[in-house]
Symmetry: C2
Subunit: 227 residues, 2 copies
Amino acid sequence: MGEFKVDPIDTNFSLKERIYSSLKQAITQMNIYEEGVNLRLDERQLSDQLATSRTPIREALARLEQEGLVRIVPRKGVYIVRKTKAEIMEMIILWAALESMAARLVTQRATDSEIAALRTIFSTFQDGQVQAHIDEYSDANIRFHQSIVEMSRCKLLVETADNIFMHIRGIRARTISESDRATQSIIDHIHIIETLEKRDADAAERLVRDHALNLAEHVAKTVTYLE
Amino acid sequence: MGEFKVDPIDTNFSLKERIYSSLKQAITQMNIYEEGVNLRLDERQLSDQLATSRTPIREALARLEQEGLVRIVPRKGVYIVRKTKAEIMEMIILWAALESMAARLVTQRATDSEIAALRTIFSTFQDGQVQAHIDEYSDANIRFHQSIVEMSRCKLLVETADNIFMHIRGIRARTISESDRATQSIIDHIHIIETLEKRDADAAERLVRDHALNLAEHVAKTVTYLE
DNA sequence: CCATCGCTGGTATGTGGTATACCAGAGTCT
DNA sequence: AGACTCTGGTATACCACATACCAGCGATGG
């Protein structure tokens, strides 16, 4: 039977914080590079949706603007910010560096079952019918790359990748259906998995890096919708 | 890939509310009838323990005083309130009414495996060595009675019982080791379980009610520490 | 083209919650 | 008896948030 016992109360629960988190999560889960996507937010609409007044929403939005996720235009609205083509190119390069280092660490740190699980991501697409299921394949593609970073078990790598993930993910989703990218990418993925299974750090790093930089080349050549 | 989506934010999280809940839980989990238990609370100590200022603590304590759980004595301190012997007697009678009705409902609503689980509560004590493990038995005793009420699946019965549970539990814990109460109670419990297994509502109700009122008789005869 | 209206983020004000400082009374110690 | 300590009680300041109002811009209609 217990004696009197209380623990410190968590006081970190301001509305502004909660709204900031909620908005940030909603934005990062969007595909902001999708054609025709609505990038505009409205304070009053958000107030309705979140069931709070505008004051803490404005504070959260100001913070998101400071972080570069949105742009507040007086009397017009708040806009989610797409990165420019040049910025995306640099993000892809950063991702290539992060993911190739992660691949090295996977060969050293991941369990056999974790590496085996990578194959199951693509088990549905082994019969070559990638184009027929391009949306599912797009999701699988994104999941594959994210898994490699997470399997590295390097917290700072994961956090750094998280900061640019929404942009990389959006570009991947938008470009995967162009030309033969999907077909080629599944071949690349299988080769990458083979290097991981063999625990060949150099080969894994090289294939992952080249695969990512291949995306950079494709973006450089074809993307016209980012100013 | 998601579109922009946010849900209403929960705004019900004032410090006062959280502190009230925390204090109430801490108090209801105490055995306030235990000999020598410290029943005094101190605003400044609570402020240290909860890591908040005194203002919301005072508000929470005011509410707990209104509910009768504590008494605030100016310049002396805040005291958790034990019920008087007369009040305890009435609570036992109320409990007898609630639990006997719950027993009827158990015979009608509980599954066989739920009723069978009641036996496992006492499986450790079947060799008659109850006094040697009186603390564990005390816990098992309390758990048994609470289970019957919960198995009734009658929400209002459960809530009404919850309101007096800390007092009934405290008295049960304090009296179980007196005279031959433990030995007699395990016999009563087995008989009660048998009536439940047979789905005999009348017999279950009668045995449960008599068992509870037997506690009332014992309290009437022996308890001197409640004014 | 001009006037009006609607819509937007921006600003001001009021309210409630909380932290902190100070107060008054009771009890203890010298 | 006086000084000190401890307590809940009270006052004040600050902050977060809700709400009302403002100013400017763009769209629409005459």
